[in-house]
Symmetry: C2
Subunit: 469 residues, 2 copies
């Protein structure tokens, strides 16, 4: 994950080759180590001197990446061993996952070669890794959403690579991804063992079609979840799903309930699908954990408030009635039409700073373990017609903007101050300038009540897992 130098097979000066695309991404993403392209005929590759054989390089090589036709992989892996390389990424497919016996034999062959030279390798049949902590990206994807504190290890290459536009649009960043492919050598249990000690990673996601070494997986996960949450998507169960999984990574899957049991033993939180997994990881990587399952709901609108309360209760949390003392404190700051039970419904309310006061009051009370808020959406989208009729509106925008961003600054400080999670529900989307400062400040914003509630449940679940409950 942190190579000091790289030997690369499969890149040329033909832009339409997968290896060329990957090596271009290594160089353009800003890798700082030495790069040695290996090519049988080219003198230079992407402007770098190319070598006929890795044995000609004559310098220590930390990592090799092989983006080659299946048949030549064993010989090149031998060369890697002879050159003293210990870590290899094998992108090439056509091994265990391919129809027929030949691929399975080839996979056994490369494993044997790796053992002989004391090498470890990722893949085959994977899309590689990226690591924003040390700016390394050897995937086919030019601009992964680097940053953040989420790491992701996956038995699907597509999910580590093609999901990037989704993550970008939703304001979610990843610092490390590992595509494990067929897991002939390195598997998800190894990834967990590695990621537990990465200090900048604080939440780990897994896409799972099979767990090849259940005992080691449980052991590694149990150690990991003492320090950071692990969330997994499992889609191997079911008839067609298992057929597909077998052809995909040569993985034998099992029924849902077996994996539910395995994840429970491992302390791993199961998510329904990729979108939910990233909701969970996002919340877990950004916000403080709730100390229990009592939630406050604050909104300026009945529908979203009712929806948040419903989905929180459905997910096993409570939205308790406030004490008479707290109700009086809330009434003292809200308007005549407001309902100050839990949920709090301000009805139509323009004073944003009231939200701040309400969140502080409910956090201060000790009566809840977290809060969910609906009612933040900025103003820009709502002024376009008004501006045409009232030109003065434009002049006021500067002052509004200052007040709005000042409000957001103060809101994101509250969860830190009280050590309690605050989630926002907003239809504006994470990439809206009205919302992104919340996310940058550690307050996740979800576009539906059920997603916010499910993510809060994952926070509660992890709290209990970590405490061994």
């Amino acid at each position: 994950m942190n190579p000091s130098s790289l030997a690369f097979w499969g890149a040329s000066n033909n832009a339409m080759k997968m290896g060329t695309i990957q090596l271009t991404n290594v160089l353009e993403t800003g890798f700082e180590g030495a790069v040695y392209p290996i090519h049988p005929s080219e003198e230079t590759v992407l402007g770098l001197p190319a070598f006929k054989s890795v044995l000609d390089v004559g310098k220590p090589i930390d990592l090799a990446q092989l983006t080659l036709p299946t048949d030549v992989v064993p010989q090149v892996l031998e060369d890697c061993g002879k050159a003293g390389i210990r870590s290899v990424i094998i992108i090439s497919g056509g091994f265990k996952e391919a129809p027929g016996d030949k691929g399975k034999q080839l996979e056994r062959d490369i494993l044997e070669i790796a053992r002989k030279y004391d090498m470890h390798f990722l893949g085959p049949n994977c899309v590689g890794i990226f690591n924003s902590l040390r700016t390394f990206n050897s995937t086919t994807i030019p601009r992964p959403p680097m940053g953040g504190k989420i790491a992701f290890a996956s038995q699907s290459g597509a999910y580590t690579a093609m999901i990037n536009p989704y993550l970008r649009a939703n304001g979610i960043k990843m610092c490390q991804t590992i595509s494990v492919g067929n897991e002939a050598d390195i598997d998800l249990a190894d990834c967990l063992e590695y990621l537990v000690d990465e200090p900048e990673v604080n939440a780990i996601g897994l896409y799972v079609e099979t767990v090849r070494r259940p005992r080691e997986f449980i052991r590694a996960a149990n150690a990991a979840v003492k320090k950071k949450p692990v969330v997994a998507v499992y889609v191997g169960g079911g008839e067609a799903g298992s057929r597909s999984s077998l052809s995909h990574t040569g993985a034998l899957s099992g029924p849902d309930q077996v994996y539910d049991g395995l994840f429970e033993q491992a302390g791993v939180i199961r998510a329904n699908d990729m979108d939910e997994m990233f909701d969970f990881l996002w919340a877990l990587s950004l916000a403080p954990l709730p100390s229990g399952r009592r939630m406050a709901v604050i909104s300026n609108s009945g529908g979203p408030g009712t929806s948040l309360a419903y989905h929180l209760e459905k997910a096993g949390m409570s939205v308790p009635l406030f004490s008479e003392e707290l109700v009086q404190q809330l009434k003292a700051v809200t308007g005549r039409l407001a309902y100050v039970g839990n949920p709090i419904d301000l009805t139509f309310e323009m004073d944003l700073f009231l939200f701040k006061k309400l969140v502080e009051l409910v956090f201060e009370s000790g009566e809840v373990d977290g809060a969910l808020l609906y009612g933040i959406f900025g103003w820009q989208d709502f002024m376009v017609n008004l501006e045409k009729r009232f030109p003065d509106i434009k002049k006021m925008q500067g002052a509004w903007e200052d007040a709005y961003f000042d409000f957001l600054d103060k809101m994101v400080a509250i969860p830190k101050e009280y050590g309690l999670p605050l989630f926002v529900m907003s239809f504006m989307g994470a990439s809206s300038p009205s919302i992104s400062p919340l996310i940058d400040g550690g307050v996740p914003a979800f576009q539906s009540a059920s997603r916010a509630a499910r993510a809060m449940k994952a926070m509660c679940d992890y709290r209990e897992i970590r405490e061994g409950k």
Copy 2:
């Protein structure tokens, strides 16, 4: 929903008043009927001559909108009655939903006034309507995502209005929304009765915290679903949810199971939350219905293919093995590493037109009732680094673009030709230029396997509801 003229209370020349914002939106959205602002002191409002009383207008008035303080609503409603107005929208809150008895009495009062003059009204405590079929928008929201064939009636005003940025970002358009507020007079059953005969509406959504007249609701829904699907979100169940609902629209909600039974009797499909409801409505409004529950999954990547198969089976559909004959036909067109069971996994495959061939083969076979496809994402996002090193890439973009859009054109023709639904799963997002032509052509694109599968289930469910199964 289709006023020829409008009398409006509550707009002035103060841009910061809700009524001013709404009337500005009426005018800027392009309403073609006559508009009569009623104001006690202003000579003109937003450039239009204002009237002291509606009785001074002296012309027939089709619709009145009242955005006024609670206390003056009864007197103004009386005036409306005297002026011969039959349809009224009452935006004002402070009625049945407000704490105390006064609001409840006021709501009885306005209902009595309406009965006296044979008027019907929407609200109180609502945000109004928009109708893109006749370009009328009197909500506070300047740019609703108008168009499409979805209508939405809601007991939450926020969900008809503030959800627009979400819908826009997801490529979803609505042609009519109705915020019913407290439903003192017009309720959801009335909305269903109206919408069933709107020829340009082909899918109806409801946000429900209570059903006030269950018998009439079931009767109206039964009639509606013979012609078009009805999808409802219900969030009244649960303890805090019902509390919130009561304070929101004065609605008494009931346990989830009661409403499940009611919806089943009504033929209404229940969605979990707003995002899911719009997924369902989107699919139902765009794509042909499947003739059964047998689905083909086609992908160029194992993870998404396995996920689609898993979520389809989990949602009660089947992903059946293909016949030997079909397998041979598929093998004849795919590459060596492809798996042509169901799911079909092409592995890494650049030839887009192969997707077209495969969808045609599986539809032609009669072995499936619909298909879900992963593997369409355009190319623009993946070339940014390559373009820096290979300037010729830019020159090829034109030809690629032509081929890509030609491919999308041909893909959207297939569901129409076979009368079977094709759903795409893609992480690119509906607003990406690589995906939007699919949507414009009637092929919905979902950003996760579970969302695509759940929406396909709603399609199957509606088919069976319509056929009375």
